[in-house]
């Protein structure tokens, strides 16, 4: 039994998207950090879709970047194609998205980690969390080495008892070709966490040289790419690559129908619930049998590879069926599969045991972030990772932790959903989950979050200076518009006319940067709505500040129904606000709780 000679402030287990953000955050804030991973060669690997962003997810990436995180910069630097989605709708639902070079993303992230001061990188597989009393002390690797740290962040993704299925074959693995972590989830179970099983899948990859790309429709990137990071210069040049479109046919349907019994996902051979928004092709064809065609996208995986990702063909049908399926798609009659599609099931930990800081309620100093909490998506993982990393650092430094709530950020919406509702199917962020969607726009992530990032020490001078300049420019321009009158109407009011855009506004200041103009225009045109949402936010915050004592014995509150007492005892909400969002707790019971707290002097 050896102990690593150096002791750390923060230990991060797992170098996926959550782990990277956590490790960088902690070390950049100034904590001595170590990142332990089973495989240095798959740091920051995109297991599935070679893309970052999308609806809701794009907003997450902007928020991570605003806090001083890394994902946005990485996506920009390794992007192959950039598109801003939903530009035909209002700015509250615009979301940036980019196809990325998978290999390059990994290499870049590894380099950043290697060169980061205060951060050590080490290849080791963690099996155990070492706990003394109800505090974490460190972790232990497969080979018996102990690492001592004040705060531990677990970000093991899909590796906990991961089991891969292709047709009838099952192979243990956290990803294809990588061994799973077998003992860690048992350890967590013993520590009192609820462990469950989820599943997901990934489609086949094909060699683009075997595809008749010329016969297919192309999807190009935006002419002027809009980047994720607030720090990426507008002048950054990208040679964009196209994606290609094809679709399923009647033949595809037939193949699926004839082979349904061989589908691991469909035949029920896999336990665990899959994501509704990422259905297998079997799911789609069975659920919507009358739909003649299902859309399929062919996406490049990198500049230095000919592998293309078949988006929309997730499946767990056996290999021979997959070959037929792929050939049934127009343009892919001669396509060759390079990697077969597969389904994977894995352990996850029910996040109801976490606080809004992502720290465990039962074990001090232990943080969980990423897919281990039942989320899916790189962006969802990274969003949790940066919060866990910041708070692990705060914990190690004995400083107050940060909490983002539902009106601060999509990260806040996500974390609150996770801890108050728990997870029974893989969680993904949706804009419809946000009550304050108009506040949580991709364009104002910095206005909302960069000050927080600055306060914890993650946002450095350069980013901060740029931010302050932008903020000042916006405020100055808005003041100017509000105080300049034409006749008896201010410029601000005139601009509110939906037919007038700032770009064509005769009183506009042409010298302002584009992002400032956008911000000014949005704040002008949506002013009434923004104002009203802010009022709702105020009312919501009142409930959030009403704290519940952590040792409250719900069994004493006889007016609550038995099942509600049980739920509250299980979830142990920190605030009345959280309690009100637990499924099944009625407003009347919240009233009871409030009265009880008042009576007992809380």
């Amino acid at each position: 039994m050896a102990t690593y000679p150096k002791q750390f402030d923060v230990i991060v287990v797992g170098a996926g998207h959550a782990g990277i953000e956590a490790a960088l955050a902690a070390s950049r804030i100034g904590c001595e950090t170590i990142l332990l991973t089973s495989n240095l060669d798959t740091i920051g690997f995109m297991s599935c879709n070679p893309a970052i962003g999308g609806i809701g997810k794009g907003q997450l990436v902007r928020e991570i970047d605003a806090l001083g995180g890394e994902m946005g910069l990485a996506a920009d630097e390794t992007g192959l194609q950039f598109r801003m989605l939903n530009t035909n709708h209002g700015p509250a639902v615009w979301s940036p998205r980019a196809q990325c070079d998978k290999k390059f993303y990994h290499t870049r992230m590894k380099r950043i980690l290697e060169s980061q001061p205060n951060l050590s990188l080490l290849q080791a597989t963690v099996e155990e969390v070492i706990v003394r009393g109800d505090s974490v002390v460190g972790v232990k690797s497969q080979t018996g080495m102990e690492y001592i740290g004040k705060a531990i962040v677990i970000t093991t993704g899909t590796f906990l008892k991961g089991l891969i299925h292709i047709g009838v074959a099952s192979i243990p693995g956290g990803r294809f070709g990588e061994p799973p972590a077998t003992k860690l989830s048992d350890c967590l179970f013993k520590l009192g966490f609820e462990v469950g099983r989820l599943k997901t899948g990934t489609p086949p990859r094909i060699n683009k040289n075997t595809v008749s790309l010329d016969s297919l429709a192309r999807q190009e990137g935006d002419e002027i790419p809009r980047f994720f990071s607030f720090r990426t210069p507008k002048t950054f040049h990208v040679e964009q690559l196209p994606c290609y479109l094809t679709h399923t046919t009647e033949t595809t349907k037939e193949i699926v129908r004839q082979n349904l019994n061989k589908s691991a996902l469909f035949s029920g051979r896999i336990s665990g619930i899959g994501p509704r928004y990422c259905p297998s092709i079997e799911d789609k064809i069975v659920k919507f049998p009358d739909k003649p065609k299902h859309q399929i996208f062919l996406e490049p995986e990198g500049r230095l590879t000919d592998e293309y990702y078949i988006n929309g063909l997730s499946t767990s049908l056996p290999e021979d069926v997959q070959i037929k399926l792929v050939k049934s798609l127009p343009g892919l009659e001669r396509a060759e599969i390079v990697r077969f599609a597969y389904a994977i099931e894995y352990d996850y930990v029910n996040p109801i045991h976490l606080r809004a800081t992502l720290e465990s309620k039962n074990i001090t100093g232990l943080f969980l972030a990423g897919q281990i909490n039942g989320t899916s998506g790189y962006e969802e993982a990274a969003g949790q990772g940066i919060i866990a990393g910041i708070n692990a650092a705060m914990h190690a430094m004995n400083k107050p932790k940060i909490i983002l709530n539902r009106s601060d950020a999509y990260i806040g919406v996500m974390i609150d959903d996770l801890i108050t509702k728990g997870v029974s199917e893989p969680y993904r962020i949706f804009t419809a989950s946000a009550e304050y969607r108009l506040q949580l726009r991709q364009d104002n992530a910095d206005l909302r979050l960069t000050p927080i990032g600055r306060e914890v020490g993650l946002v450095k001078s350069t980013q901060w200076t740029v931010f302050l300049e932008k903020k000042k420019a916006i405020e100055t321009e808005i003041t100017r518009l509000q105080s300049t009158y034409v006749g008896n109407r201010s410029l601000f009011t005139i601009l509110q006319d939906p037919k007038i855009s700032y770009g064509k506004f005769e009183f506009a200041r042409a010298d302002l940067p584009d992002d400032v103009k956008l911000e000014v225009e949005i704040q002008d045109k949506y002013q009434g709505y923004i104002q009203r949402e802010l009022e709702s936010v105020q009312r919501m915050k009142l409930l959030e500040t009403k704290r519940i004592p952590p040792d409250l014995d719900y069994e004493e509150i006889k007016q609550l129904r038995v099942e509600s007492r049980q739920k509250l005892s299980r979830f142990r909400p920190d605030t009345i606000g959280q309690a009100s969002r637990i499924q099944g707790i009625t407003p009347a019971e919240i009233a009871v709780l409030l009265i009880w707290l008042r009576k007992h002097g809380a």
């Binding site: 939903n86 035909n88 789609k284 739909k291 988006n311 419809a432 989950s433 709505y529 009347a588």
Partner: protein
Amino acid sequence: MEDTIAAISTPLGTGGIAIIRMSGPQALQLADAIFRSRAGRPSEFPSHTIHYGKIVQSGQVLDEVLLAVFRAPHSYTTENVVEIHCHGGVVTAQTILTLCLQHGARLAEPGEFTKRAFLYGRIDLAQAEAVMDLITARTERAQTLAARTLEGILSQRLETICEKLEPLRAEIEANLNFPEDDIPPVDQTKLCQTLDECISILQEILVSAHETRILKEGVSVVIVGRPNVGKSSLLNALVGKERALVTPFPGTTRDFIEETIALQGIPVRLIDTAGYRPPRGRIEAAGIQRTLQLVEQSDFVIHVFDASRPFSELDHKLQKICSKKSVIPVLNKDDLPRKIRSARYFAEITPISVSALTGSGMDTLRTALIKAIQSRFFGFGQTAQEVMVNERQANLLQGAQNHIKEARYHCDGSQKLDIVSDEIRRAIDLISQTTGKSASNFVIDLVFSRFCIGK
């Protein structure tokens, strides 16, 4: 639990004693304001004591009562509770209740005392439910068929609205959250149409609820007629006591005497006026002018005729003045030989024959008045209590309608669909608060069940 609630705790009808109960922070002070007794003031009475005294309103005694005080926390609700035991009779109890409401209490919702008892831990859920069952049974017996139908109709209508709104929202959210998937764009025409339908349905519901606001000030009933036809006597008879000055000489009521009575719990302001005749002197002229104004502003008019004297030109003139209002013609003095022959002069409405002196026909008049009020303000024959509860709902539904109108305003293309969706969400929220069902965020479920999503 900031407000003080009041209600009649005994079944309405003719019982020996009726109990009006009040609970809340203001109960004792409210009792001070309306109760006079040699024993002192209710706010000084020890808990669990009963004292004899009188309920007074503007110096007039309404009833001799026994008043009981229960001090927090040793009461049914654990708040300060005052019980007024009065001498039976619907009108007395209701008048005292109205008096309490006028002094700042709020009409309790069905079961609200028990609800407070439960919330404050005085009784547990099982006990609360047992009480509620009893109350519900009583209430149902007391409810008219029409009122129950209303509740059913209202819930049904609201369900219909939600059933129209939720798929709209799902369609919009599918488009907003999955733009790369093969989802048909939002059908703008259908969107606008459906929103318009919902606005109309809510408008219908609101129109009937809206009129109940008038109740806060009371339904106004102006009593008009030529001098000395017995208007003041009629007023007294309706109110049930000697109040207005009644002399045999015409022209004595120069001031406008107003009395509020409670008819089935509805505050009704009876306004006596100066006799209508060609004025002699400026003061009388001003009085007549004022009468006409009151008629203009009134909800109902009781036009009193002296049945023992022939129908005159003045009667006819007054009829014409009041022709645009809801009029109840009353032939008073039917204890005397009748000189007016109904059919000729009262084409549309059959007048009610009464004698304010003997009391004959007074119940018929009260009933007619109640019916007139009900059909105007409570289209479905609701009782006042239900309507007042529904006022809370009316506010919520008005809010919901406003949100749907806002959504409708933004249905002009795809630019503001996120706002449309949010407005619809708020509307559904408010409607759910009305029906008491919680609106879970199952728009996402709807999206997945209707649209093939997922790359």
